[in-house]
Amino acid sequence: MMPINNPRLFSGALLAGALALSTAHAYTLEEFTFEDPARTDEFRTLIGELRCLVCQNESLAGSQAGVAQDLRKEVYRMMREGQSRQEVVDFLVARYGDFVLYEPPIKPSTYILWFGPFILVGVGGFLLFRTLQRKKAEPEEDLSEADRVRLQQLLAKTGDHQD
């Protein structure tokens, strides 16, 4: 066993390794072409919409990870065989789950994700509306007749009172 007991050293080594790899293996999508340019576009759009599970902030199109490369090849192979976009997506979801999709499907477990923001805006709007309504209904001031007279006198005394 050779445990790595210096996490800093380890992550430094990882970073160095990743940098070395990314310069050594810069890749292009040129190898993935179809006779029909529309199909090539479809392919590029599709892999841009699929998430790489290793580097989760990258799409399959952008990731250098080994698994992403394998999956790009697999998607390419399936599309060369004439399979539709939906068939490819179903294939990947069956194996990796909805997580491969940047845009999760609308189903009961994702309702809160899709509709939650609208519900929040609705509730907020309702509360705002109600608060404004109540403000309007309330009288501006609540002075007794004696106070009102006194107020008039005070204002007259200061001389600022214009009328």
Binding site: P3, F10, L53, D70, L71, R95, G97
Partner: protein, 179 residues
């Protein structure tokens, strides 16, 4: 007065609930993606044996016994980290530990088994991620618990240590061994 005091507590309550949710979220590991394969039949495969290139292995090796299918590679540091625990599990438990050598080369894989020991009763060799894609493998180590009927019952992402074995994997193994 009482009414407005309790009303003033509402934002505080909302804040506390949100804070609790976010705090819980911090403790989740986004790398652990639930597998859609749990409780489904293990995907079939036809792979060479790592140790004997002439031998072809299929899903049949999983039938009849609870198995741990451990995805590993010689290039994977966490695999080395869990290797000792796999050796112990294979030695002390009535469970079939099957290796799933993934995106590796045969010489390097065999070298690692020579150096650190071999916990696997059989090792599948999948250098090109052929079966790996069907199994939804996206990293190593990953470990599947497969019951005697060939149905995946659990997937562990990341290395196994004693605590993980006892709290997470052994209960599943025992549950399906009883059947």
């Amino acid at each position: 007065m009482n009414n407005s005091a309790s009303r003033a507590l509402i934002p505080l309550g909302i804040f506390l609930v949100l804070a609790a949710l976010l705090f819980y979220g911090l403790r989740l590991d986004p790398r652990k993606v639930p597998s859609p394969l749990v409780d489904k039949p293990a995907p079939s495969f036809t792979l060479q044996s790592l140790k004997d290139p002439g031998q072809t292995l299929t899903k049949d090796i999983l039938l009849g016994k609870v198995s741990l299918v451990n995805v590993w590679a010689s290039w994977c540091p966490s695999c080395r980290q869990e290797h000792g625990e796999l050796m112990r599990i294979a030695r002390e438990n009535d469970v079939q530990v099957i290796g799933f050598n993934w995106k590796d080369t045969r010489p390097e894989a065999l070298q690692m088994l020579r150096q650190y020991g071999d916990p696997y009763s059989t090792t599948l060799f999948d250098p090109d991620n052929q079966a790996g894609i069907d199994w939804g493998v996206y990293g190593a180590p990953e470990t599947f618990v497969v019951d005697g009927e060939g149905i995946i019952r659990h997937k562990r992402i990341g290395p196994i240590d004693r605590a993980v074995w006892e709290s997470e994997i052994l209960p599943v193994v025992e549950q399906y061994r009883a059947k």
